[in-house]
C-alpha cells in the first residue's frame, strides 16, 4: 500500500464515476436490499434506493450537467430527498447536502477534505436520524467506514488504499448489525425479533463507500 501522494485529490469526474458505480450497484442489488428490508422492515429499501439513484442518473449525471463538485453533490442530495422517501430519503439526502456544504466551491477536493466532507455527511445522518452506533442503522456502516478513512489518511496512507480500508470497515460494520437489536427505524418495532438479520440501510451504506473506493482506485 502506497503512502499519501502530495496533492492527491478527487474532482467532479471522479465523483460522477462514484455515483455511477453506486447507482449500478444499487440497481443490481435492489432485490437483495428489499429482501433484507422485508425481513425486519417493510420491504422497500432496494426499491427506494434504486428509484432515487435512477433519478440521480437522469437528473444529475446527465452529461450536459456541468455543475461544479459541490453543485453535483447538492444535486444528488436534493434528488434523493425528493425521490427516495421513507427513512433513507432524508438520511441520504442530508448526507449529500452536508457533504456539498462541507466541500464548498472547489474544482478538486484534496483527500483530507474529501474525508471531512464524508464525515460531515455522516454527522448529518446522525443528527437527522438521532441514532447512535449500535442502533442497527446505516450509521453502523458509515461511522466505522469514515473513521477508518480519516485514520488511514492521518497515518499517511494514499487515498485509494485508505478508501479500500474504509469500505472494508463499512462492510464489517454492516455485518456486525446482524446480531443487533434495532433501536431506530422500522426494525425497532420488532424488538428482539430484529436480531439475526442484517440491516438494509447499513448494507446500502457499505455499497456507498465500496463504490467510492472503486471510483477512486479506477481513476
Amino acid at each position: 500500500m502506497g503512502r499519501v501522494m502530495e496533492g492527491e485529490a478527487v474532482d467532479a469526474a471522479t465523483l460522477r464515476r462514484w455515483l455511477d458505480v453506486l447507482a449500478a450497484r444499487l440497481s443490481e442489488r435492489a432485490d437483495y436490499l428489499t429482501q433484507l428490508d422485508a425481513a425486519i422492515g417493510d420491504g422497500d429499501h432496494g426499491i427506494n434506493m434504486d428509484r432515487g439513484f435512477r433519478a440521480v442518473r437522469e437528473r444529475v449525471l446527465d452529461p450536459g450537467n456541468e455543475a461544479p463538485l459541490d453543485g453535483l453533490l447538492k444535486g444528488v442530495g436534493m434528488t434523493l430527498l425528493s425521490t427516495v422517501g421513507g427513512a433513507a430519503g432524508p438520511l441520504y439526502g442530508t448526507f449529500f447536502l452536508r457533504m456539498a456544504a462541507q466541500a464548498g466551491a472547489k474544482d478538486r477536493l484534496p483527500a483530507p477534505e474529501l474525508a471531512a466532507a464524508l464525515a460531515a455527511g455522516v454527522e448529518g445522518v446522525r443528527q437527522r436520524g438521532r441514532a447512535e452506533p449500535g442502533d442497527k442503522t446505516m450509521l453502523d456502516a458509515l461511522l466505522p467506514g469514515v473513521e477508518t478513512l480519516e485514520r488511514m489518511l492521518a497515518e499517511g496512507r494514499d487515498l485509494a488504499s485508505a478508501l479500500e480500508a474504509a469500505a472494508a470497515a463499512a462492510e464489517e460494520g454492516c455485518r456486525a448489525t446482524v446480531p443487533m437489536v434495532a433501536r431506530k427505524g422500522r426494525a425497532s418495532y420488532l424488538g428482539q425479533r430484529s436480531a439475526g438479520h442484517q440491516d438494509p440501510g447499513a448494507t446500502s451504506s457499505a455499497y456507498l463507500l465500496r463504490a467510492l473506493a472503486a471510483a477512486v482506485s479506477g481513476s
Binding site: G43, D44, I47, S82, G86, R128, G129, S188, R193
Partner: protein, 333 residues
C-alpha cells in the same frame, strides 16, 4: 402477484387520476410532486390540516381530503413516506393564512420528511405545527427507540382536527385536537395474510395456512408474534387486552370503537369482530358511544384487522358528529 394495475411504476399516479375522475367535486390532484387538495383550496381564514404517508393504505389519506377533514394529503410511493417537496408544496397550496397542522404518523421516514418540509414552509413564513401520532400498543414504547407506530388513531385525528379547523379553530386549537386524540386513542392490529408491494412483486412475509401475525403495523411488516390461527373472539381479546390496559380505559368511559379491515378482509368478518368488541366493552363497563367499521387504514390486500379505541368527551363527540364530505367519509352534508 395478482393486481389490477398497469405498471408497477404507475400505480400511485394512475390511482390519483382515477380519484380525480371519480371525485371532481371534492378534490384536486397535483402530479409531480404528487398531492391532493380539497377542491377550491386554500380556504381563506381557515387553519389547514395536511397529512400524508406511503400509498397502499387507501382510503387513507387521499380519501379524507374534503370539507371537515383534510385540506391536503401527500401520497408517497407504496409504503414509503412522501418526500419533503411534496409536503412543502401541498402545505403552501392549502395554507389559508392561519397556519397548517401536519398530522404525522410516527415512522422515522414520515417524521423526518415532514420535519424537512415544515422547515421549508416556515422559511416561507407559513406557520406549521406538526403533531405525531403513535397509538400502536403492539410496539414497546421506550425513550431509546423509534417509539410506537401511528396507525388507526390517525384517521380519527384527521376527522376530528378537520372538524375543529372547519369550525374556525386556531392553529393551536386544531393541533391540540390531534394531540388529544393521540393521547386518548390506542390501537392494535393483526394479519391473516401478508400483502405484496407492487414494485417488490412478492409478499413482505410468509404465513403458514394455520398461522397469523399479531401486532402488525400497516406496512406489511411482520408483527410482534406469530401464532396459530384462532377464533375471531380470541383474536379480539388478544388485541383488546393491551389496548384497554395501556391508557388505561376505566369503567364508565365513553369510547369510539374503530374496527378496521386491512384491505382484503370482507365486511362480514369485521362485523363479527365488532360483535366481540362490543361485548368486551360492555363487560368492562365502557360505553360504546360511536363506532366506525370498515377498511379505512389498510395495507394493500392484506387480510386482517385492527382495533382502535378512542376515549371520548363531549368535545370529541361533537367534532365527530360534525359534517364531513370526503371521498371516503361523509355525513351531515
Amino acid at each position: 402477484m395478482k393486481k389490477l394495475i398497469n405498471a408497477v411504476d404507475d400505480v400511485v399516479t394512475e390511482a390519483l387520476q382515477g380519484m380525480q375522475a371519480a371525485h371532481p367535486d371534492l378534490i384536486e390532484i397535483h402530479l409531480d410532486p404528487n398531492y391532493v387538495v380539497r377542491r377550491g383550496a386554500p380556504v381563506e381564514g381557515q387553519v389547514a390540516v395536511v397529512s400524508g404517508g406511503g400509498s397502499g393504505h387507501e382510503p387513507m389519506h387521499n380519501g379524507y381530503v374534503g370539507l371537515g377533514m383534510l385540506s391536503g394529503a401527500c401520497p408517497g410511493a407504496v409504503f414509503t413516506s412522501p418526500t419533503p417537496d411534496q409536503i412543502y408544496e401541498c402545505t403552501r397550496r392549502v395554507n389559508g393564512g392561519r397556519g397548517v397542522v401536519h398530522v404525522v404518523k410516527n415512522y422515522t421516514g414520515d417524521v423526518m420528511n415532514f420535519e424537512l418540509a415544515a422547515e421549508m414552509a416556515r422559511a416561507d413564513g407559513i406557520e406549521v405545527e406538526a403533531v405525531v401520532i403513535n397509538d400502536d400498543v403492539a410496539v414497546q414504547d421506550s425513550l431509546y427507540t423509534a417509539g410506537r407506530r401511528g396507525v388507526g388513531a390517525t384517521v380519527l385525528a384527521e376527522k376530528l382536527a378537520g372538524a375543529r379547523a372547519e369550525a374556525g379553530g386556531s392553529l393551536g386549537e386544531v393541533a391540540a385536537v390531534v394531540r388529544k386524540v393521540n393521547d386518548n386513542a390506542r390501537s392494535m392490529g393483526m394479519a391473516l395474510t401478508p400483502c405484496t408491494v407492487p414494485a417488490a412483486g412478492k409478499p413482505t412475509f410468509e404465513l403458514g395456512d394455520d398461522e397469523m401475525e399479531i401486532g402488525i403495523g400497516i406496512h406489511g411488516e411482520p408483527g410482534r408474534e406469530r401464532m396459530e390461527l384462532e377464533t375471531a373472539d380470541r383474536i379480539v381479546d388478544r388485541l383488546m387486552g393491551p389496548i384497554l390496559e395501556d391508557l388505561p380505559f376505566r369503567s364508565g368511559d365513553r369510547v369510539l370503537a374503530f374496527v378496521n379491515g386491512m384491505g382484503g378482509t370482507p365486511l362480514i368478518e369485521l362485523y363479527i369482530v365488532t360483535r366481540r368488541v362490543a361485548r368486551v366493552l360492555e363487560e368492562r363497563g365502557l360505553r360504546l358511544e360511536r363506532s366506525l367499521v370498515g377498511s379505512y387504514i389498510t395495507s394493500l390486500e392484506m387480510a386482517g384487522c385492527s382495533i382502535t379505541l378512542l376515549r371520548l368527551g363531549d368535545e370529541l363527540v361533537r367534532l365527530w358528529d360534525a359534517p364531513v364530505h370526503t371521498p371516503a367519509l361523509r355525513w351531515g352534508v
